[in-house]
């Protein structure tokens, strides 16, 4: 009798133990700015993250091998992916607190975030301390992957890749059009993103023999950018290179129009200048603005995977897929792929699977060569392109072989515009 009892007891104890070994749920913490000045980035990304989770859960479908392999998370025997969204408001301290909460209380398997480089920096520190994988799909500050972190992975190019593309473009453009660009004016906002971007631009300008005639850092939340534009106007560089978030990008354009500052070429560092709000708000005043980017909406038609995803995304978000959600999706799918291959929610197994990641370029919505991480966690197969805002839409203008439009140069002066 006592033996029977022992067996029954052992069985009842063993059954939940077996169940626990095979997780039924993969919980991921997704932290983005859902309110505050950059809320648009978080809100637009949320839709694409939900699609990613549905692809993994088998309730949505992308008919391409990489996504089919992930369907229903076979590696985890059909465990369901559940996303917990959190809002960091663009504040590093809030992001840090959210990361702490998600890891210790919600017991998330991994963290995904978080757009602002400065917030990604603090959040990933928490993840590193707890030994939780951190997937960063878009923050572009180069230093993020140079901290010797073991749990940090970035799928997107960083500002050195991007800025290098700008200087490649200058070189090829000068050759193609027979013009000479000599002087640069760089302006950048005062958080990690702007500061790092400014630094990279300064270094590359020196390396490639351009003269930086104006170098100013400004407050991202300025109520006025009059003095900044006055100084730009005074220095009048051949190329103006701003690094801005949405609010300051809009304010710059408005102030330039008011003060009649006419840069001949505007080469921007993505972020604010590429957001649909900037295009809607600055409208035709921003005509001719160029930006580096890892993705362009006008390439959707050329890439079947992007087209299929856009069909799902535009229905849900009410707008076409663009840079932010495109990169967010790529990062999230890379993480889901690793979790699926790991076949476990154990952090070490996922980390190992992430290191072994190898996704071919033709399965991505981006124009990259693929996804493969180096020992710092940086994707090495990235590629940047240059876009220009023409007729209210961004078009690919560089590399010249994939360009859909010619470069508009010089940008028409305010007085010559209709």
């Amino acid at each position: 009798m006592s033996r029977l009892l022992a067996i029954v007891l052992a069985l009842t104890l063993a059954v939940p133990a077996l169940a626990a070994a095979q997780p039924r749920e993969v919980v991921l913490g997704v932290v983005y700015p859902m309110s505050g000045p950059a809320a648009q980035a978080g809100v637009d990304n949320k839709a694409v993250f939900e699609i990613a989770a549905e692809l993994a859960n088998g309730t949505a479908d992308l008919p391409f091998p990489f996504y089919q392999r992930l369907k229903g998370m076979p590696g985890l025997k059909g465990a369901k992916v559940r996303l917990i969204f959190a809002d960091h408001q663009g504040k590093p301290d809030v992001g840090q607190a959210e990361a702490e909460r998600l890891i210790t209380q919600e017991k998330v398997t991994a963290l995904v975030g978080s757009w602002h480089s400065a917030v990604t920096a603090t959040m990933s520190q928490v993840a590193e301390r707890h030994g939780v994988p951190f997937m960063n799909p878009e923050s572009s500050s180069p230093g993020l992957t140079r901290r010797g972190f073991k749990w940090f992975f970035r799928t997107s190019p960083h500002d050195e890749h991007f800025t290098q593309v700008m200087f490649d473009f200058f070189r090829d453009f000068e050759k193609k059009r027979g013009v000479k660009l000599k002087t640069l004016g760089i302006t950048y906002e005062d958080t990690l993103f702007g500061a790092d971007s400014g630094k990279v631009m300064r270094e590359l300008a020196k390396k490639h023999g351009y003269e930086v005639v104006l170098d100013i850092q400004y407050r991202a939340k300025s109520t006025s950018l009059q003095s900044e534009v006055q100084r730009l106007k005074g220095a009048n560089p051949d190329v103006w290179m701003p690094t801005s978030y949405q609010t300051d990008a809009i304010l710059f354009t408005r102030t330039m129009k008011e003060l009649d500052y006419n840069p001949k070429m505007i080469m921007t560092q993505d972020a604010g200048h590429i957001s649909p709000d900037f295009i809607a708000a600055a409208g035709k005043d921003a005509e001719g603005t160029m930006s580096r980017a890892p993705f362009s909406t006008d390439l959707i038609g050329k890439r079947p995977v992007a087209q299929a995803l856009n069909a799902l995304y535009s229905k849900r978000a009410g707008k076409d897929l663009y840079d932010f959600p495109a990169r967010a999706f790529t990062g999230m799918m890379t993480l889901l792929d690793a979790i699926n291959r790991a076949g476990s929610t154990a952090p070490a197994a996922i980390q190992k699977a992430l290191i072994a990641t190898s996704i071919p370029g033709d399965q991505l919505i981006m124009t990259w060569d693929g996804i493969k991480f180096d020992e710092t966690g940086q994707n090495t197969l990235v590629k940047g392109i240059i876009l220009q805002l023409l007729g209210g839409k961004y078009h690919t203008v560089y590399p010249f072989d994939v360009a859909t439009r010619d470069v508009l140069y010089p940008v028409p002066a305010w007085k010559d515009r209709k």
Partner: protein, 255 residues
């Protein structure tokens, strides 16, 4: 009135949305929408007093702070819920471009906004100093009980004060909408500078606030132009700190 409205920035945001929607839905230029914004904000101020402030006036200082702070959070979240997170801009307002004042270019919308702000200031000042209601309002602000003993209906004065203060924000919001983007968090950008300006001039002193406003503006622009743009606000706040350390009541404050 011995109560600081921490939702002042959010009131500004509401006023800017009023001006924006008047333009987007009815094609009204922000200049034409100005009376609309003023009326809407006066109503909002009046309602805030009756719905919220009245009930916490007798309470501890902390309750008052949290009440308006809570209102700020509520308005901001409400705006995001109703109107989304997008940045909106009034396209092609009547006043655009710039004027040359000698060697200096000034944006026309900014110039018009300054002029209108001056007019609003003169109106407010005259009202406060020259009319019986205005004097009653000042009396209430100075000492509520004494004012009540003099037969002033302080409850009405408070409501008027809130309506008037908010109406001024209505003017600012409509004018700002001519050249500034609108989004749920826009108030925060201006609120801090606004508090500093008021405190620099001295609470309760309207002309002093005007002077302080000009000082803050000049310091901001010159610090940006001559020093570095990144530290222009640091210079403003440094000046503020220096002033309140030497004169806690502000430059021209009496109390």
């Amino acid at each position: 009135m011995e109560i600081v409205n921490f939702a002042h920035g959010e009131f500004l945001m509401v006023a800017m949305y009023v001006a924006f929607f008047a333009w987007a839905l009815a094609g009204l230029d922000p200049l034409l929408a100005l009376p609309l914004a003023v009326a809407a904000l006066a109503a909002l101020g009046w309602a805030t007093y009756h719905g919220l402030i009245r009930w916490v006036l007798g309470g501890p200082m902390l309750a008052q702070i949290f009440a308006t702070f809570g209102l700020a959070v509520f308005l901001r979240a409400g705006a995001q819920f109703l109107w989304g997170v997008d940045f909106r801009v009034v396209q092609d307002p009547w006043l655009g471009g710039r004027v040359a004042l000698g060697p200096v270019f000034v944006g026309l919308p900014q110039l018009a906004a300054s002029a209108a702000a001056l007019v609003a200031f003169l109106g407010l000042w005259r009202f406060l100093a020259r009319t019986e209601t205005g004097v009653a309002l000042q009396a209430t602000a100075q000492d509520r009980q004494a004012a009540a003993l003099m037969g002033i209906d302080t409850d009405r004065m408070y409501a008027l004060g809130w309506a008037l203060g908010s109406a001024c924000v209505g003017v600012a919001g409509a004018l700002l909408a001519m050249y500034f983007y609108v989004f749920p968090d826009v108030g925060g950008t201006f609120a801090l500078i606004a508090y500093v300006t008021v405190a620099l001039g001295g609470f309760g002193n309207v002309p002093a606030t005007l002077v302080a406003g000009v000082v803050v503006g000049l310091v901001e622009v010159f610090a940006g132009l001559l020093l570095a743009p990144a530290i222009k606000y640091a210079v403003v706040f440094l000046l503020y700190l220096a002033v309140v350390l030497a004169r806690p009541q502000g430059l021209f404050g009496r109390w």
